[in-house]
């Protein structure tokens, strides 16, 4: 198979280039990550992140034929050749397919991704009804791979000020959590031209989420929560 991969070596001083590779899938190779590992066995200067190889760790997000996705969840079958692989868009490239995720995680920590106490801590664990627990489905599964945020045009234009779909999905995950005591503060923080309202409901996030989640829907729910609080 013909792969065309974005190469950048910070020590070379030269601009990024595209490099062609031809690899033959072997028996058992199913996903794009399998091919990348074969390339790496031929050319060990190629750098990319990967760990669990099954869509749990969220390390191998990249732009594959113009769309973001996880290499380990992208089937080899059906990929148009040459398979063009570039780093996640918009983030500074550290080397080859590895991007600097600092900005992404800054936004993630800004939404305070942890439960905030309502009052004194309970004697035992905080109980939650099955109905309340169900509200977290479709939210807690996010693996923070950044495929959504780095495929969002609003994030491309304002990566420093717009929180991006991943952080907003997480923000909503704590807004709906019945055990959380800081809903009002969370909504106040999000009610901002940049942080939340740069979203134009383009839905690129939902299109590319490798876990099948819908950040655009979460953002819609945050807007509704803000609206019903105001009215």
């Amino acid at each position: 198979m013909h792969l065309r991969i974005y190469r950048y070596d910070p020590d070379s001083g030269s601009a990024p280039t595209m490099q062609d590779y031809t690899v033959e899938p072997e028996a058992g190779d199913r996903k794009l990550l399998d091919l990348l590992v074969r390339v790496k066995s031929v050319d060990d200067s190629l750098s990319f992140r990967r760990s669990c190889r099954e869509g749990i760790c969220g390390s191998d997000g990249m732009n594959i034929n113009g769309r973001n996705g996880l290499a380990c969840l992208t089937p080899i079958d059906g990929l148009a050749e040459p398979v063009t692989i570039r780093p996640l868009p918009g983030l500074p490239v550290v080397r080859d397919l590895i991007v600097d995720m600092t900005q992404f995680f800054t936004h993630y920590s800004a939404i305070k991704p942890y439960l905030i106490e309502k009052g004194p801590p309970p004697e035992r664990e905080r109980l939650q009804t099955p109905v309340d627990r169900e509200k977290l489905d479709g939210l807690y599964e996010c693996i923070l791979c950044a495929c959504c945020s780095t495929f969002c045009p609003s994030f491309w234009w304002n990566p420093d000020k717009f929180l991006g779909p991943a952080a907003l999905l997480q923000a909503y995950r704590f807004i709906v959590d019945s055990r959380d005591g800081a809903t009002a503060e969370r909504l106040d923080y999000l009610d901002d031209v940049y942080r939340l309202f740069r979203c134009r409901s383009i839905m690129n996030c939902t299109e590319v989420c490798p876990k099948g989640l819908s950040p655009s829907h979460a953002i819609e729910q945050i807007r509704q929560a803000l609206l019903s609080r105001s009215l």
Binding site: P153, W157, N158, F197, L226, L227, S230
Partner: protein, 112 residues
């Protein structure tokens, strides 16, 4: 509701949109039934006090909607603050000028 929040313009954008969709529907139906396209009925509509009010209020809705839309475009694509403010100012002047012109035209037609 906080006045300077992200939500207010967002909401205004949607309220003006709803109003303008209703207005467009009315115009389209009027055109479909041949109510408007002759001079006498057109003039009679625009020069009636309620007709002029509808036209002007609709235009204010257009201006509000347009201003918020342009602001969003500038927030996305134009980074240098002076240039952004200059363009926002330019579009504000353009919208205000056309609105004032419309007001004068309607006023003249109404009272002549």
């Amino acid at each position: 509701m906080r006045v300077f929040s992200g939500q207010v313009p967002w909401l205004l954008q949607r309220l003006t949109a709803l109003f303008l969709i209703a207005a467009l529907l009315v115009i389209f139906i009027a055109l479909l039934f041949g109510v408007l396209p002759d001079y006498a009925s057109w003039r009679a509509f625009v020069t009636s006090s309620h007709g002029a009010t509808i036209v002007f209020v609709s235009y204010l809705a257009v201006c509000t909607h347009a201003w918020i839309g342009v602001r969003d475009v500038l927030l996305d694509y134009v980074k240098p603050l002076p240039l952004r403010l200059l363009l926002l100012m330019a579009i504000s002047v353009l919208l205000a000028a056309t609105a004032i012109r419309l007001l004068l035209v309607l006023g003249a037609a109404l009272f002549v």
